[in-house]
Amino acid sequence: MSSAPRAPGGRGGDGSPQPLLKVASIETLYFDRIYALFGVSLEIEEGEIFTVLGPNGAGKTTLLRTIAGLLKDQPKKGELVFGGRRIDGWQPEAIARLGVVYVPEDRGLFRELTVRENLELGLWGRHDDGVRTDLEFVYGMFPILHERARQEAETLSGGEQQMLALGRAMLRRPRLLMLDEPSLGLAPRVAKSVYEALTAISRTGTTILLVEQNARLALGVARRGAILEAGRIVLEGTSKELMENEDVREVYLGVGTAEAAVKGWRLYRKRRRW
């Protein structure tokens, strides 16, 4: 460990990049005995989009919830280091105040409150001068939110709800934005526009940890990624490497005919090279 002074989350004294978030062999259990995460390690670097892919039940959501501190007494083992600070065992509110913003799969909106009120809650605790410009940024990115400001969130369409969730998250000026399946339940065109928004958000310098089942969309925007299966990271690399990986192509990108895909899946199960 370098003893040179450094900004939290910044570059280390020796010039090597210090990850913004370090997940070090964490284990998360449900009901004290069911393993959901089995020694997961990841390093998310400042400013990148990192995606975690995997099938249903692999532990993707559990991973995000563990990082956000939403699972009581979890992780049971391992360390979570954010911006140079140990955060495992912290209250979710405290982790959120560090700038870790989690958008759950169900968008986490207050459905009975208006769009405007939802956004206001995103500004909770902020008293700086940037509030106005940030609101303008969000309204500029999603003009529909401005139009619907007085409507209750539950009256929005699925895509608009995702936009509200993203906009509200941006008002928190996240250092790490964690998104759980932002494309879920959206029409392909809407999903695509949500992903365009993600790219725009990333350009502001926000680090994004993205969990997806839609590998094609996620790998399209991410710099690096990992495959999570049955609570373990089985593969990690740049998006390019992942997209060129034979197994990822067969199983997650569905390249080739349906027949080949089925055959490929069987082969994949047998081979289980990871």
Binding site: P92, E93, A96, V101, Y102
Partner: protein
């Protein structure tokens, strides 16, 4: 006609106090999903504190404010000292409801031990024998003050919940606790405000009920059950519902006493609970909680 109006007015006055009790029950239920069975007893304790303050020659406003503070403090202390800990240890909702029952019994014990079980009367500055005649209806000063207390209490709660940032956080926290946490909203502080405000509303009801009833360690039991019935009638998670339910219950009760039989008056609340739960379990203005997995 005269009789009808007269009893309707009496019912409204009683109903406005039930509304304060019901609002407290709903406020806590909405935000923490806990039915607070100690609601009435917190009010009893605080009303006895007011009684002691008045007996020690403090003025009524001082005694009133003092008892509000005591009530709110007990509610907040119970939330932080017991419920939060219980939750941390993994207590479920039923367990927490039982804890409120425990608090109710503890407070009853304390009140009997400190003040005795003999009924006393609260020296109250507003008279219930001085009356005004408005149109056909005779209104006692106490009934008018009671109505005003119910109105002001409900209005203050409305302003807090609907017009302030804290109220916005309260609404957000009751609707989606996890989302509120992930936004960095201090949810425990927000929930403790609900407990404090709810308890204070109960105390207002207690103070204004004390002169009409006699002050004994169990004097809030009946109003608490009425408030509970009113909350169920209006919808346990709806604040406006609590007020509507309480006014309906108050008037219905008063009219039952006038036209049917006075003995039947107290049974009515329970009939209301049963009928509502059978026909419209979510209450008049309530919405069913949509549980999402």
């Amino acid at each position: 006609m005269e009789k009808l109006l007269q009893y309707a007015f009496t019912g409204l006055a009683a109903g406005s106090l039930y509304a304060l009790v019901a609002l407290g029950i709903v406020l806590i239920y909405r935000s923490t999903r806990v039915l607070n069975f100690a609601h009435g007893d917190i009010a009893t304790l605080a009303t006895f504190v007011a009684f002691s303050l008045l007996s020690s020659e403090y003025s009524f406003p001082v005694a009133f404010l003092g008892s509000l503070l005591v009530g709110a403090a007990v509610g907040i202390a119970f939330y932080f000292g017991v419920l939060v800990r219980a939750q941390r240890e993994g207590a479920n909702l039923l367990g927490m409801v039982i804890l409120t029952l425990g608090l109710a019994l503890i407070i009853q014990g304390v009140v009997v031990w400190w003040w005795g079980a003999e009924p006393t009367s609260l020296p109250f500055p507003i008279s219930d024998t001085k009356t005004y005649k408005v149109g056909l209806v005779v209104m006692s000063q106490l009934a008018l003050a009671t109505l005003a207390a119910g109105l002001v209490g409900s209005l203050l709660l409305y302003l807090l919940v609907q017009k302030t940032r804290l109220g916005l956080a309260m609404r957000a926290t009751s609707e989606n606790l996890m989302a509120a946490q992930t936004l960095g909203i201090p949810t425990r502080m927000v929930l403790s405000v609900s407990w404090g405000a709810a308890s204070a509303l109960g105390v207002v009801a207690g103070i204004f009920l004390a002169p009409a009833l006699l002050l004994d360690p169990f004097f809030m039991l009946d109003p608490f059950l009425k408030g509970f019935a009113a909350a169920v009638l209006g919808g346990l998670n709806s604040l406006p519902g609590a007020v509507v339910g309480a006014l309906i219950l108050g008037v219905a009760e008063s009219l039952t006493g006038a036209y049917l039989t006075i003995q039947f008056k107290n049974t009515l609340a329970f009939l209301v609970i049963i009928v509502v739960l059978l026909l419209r379990p979510e209450g008049l203005l309530g919405k069913e909680f949509k549980e999402r997995v």
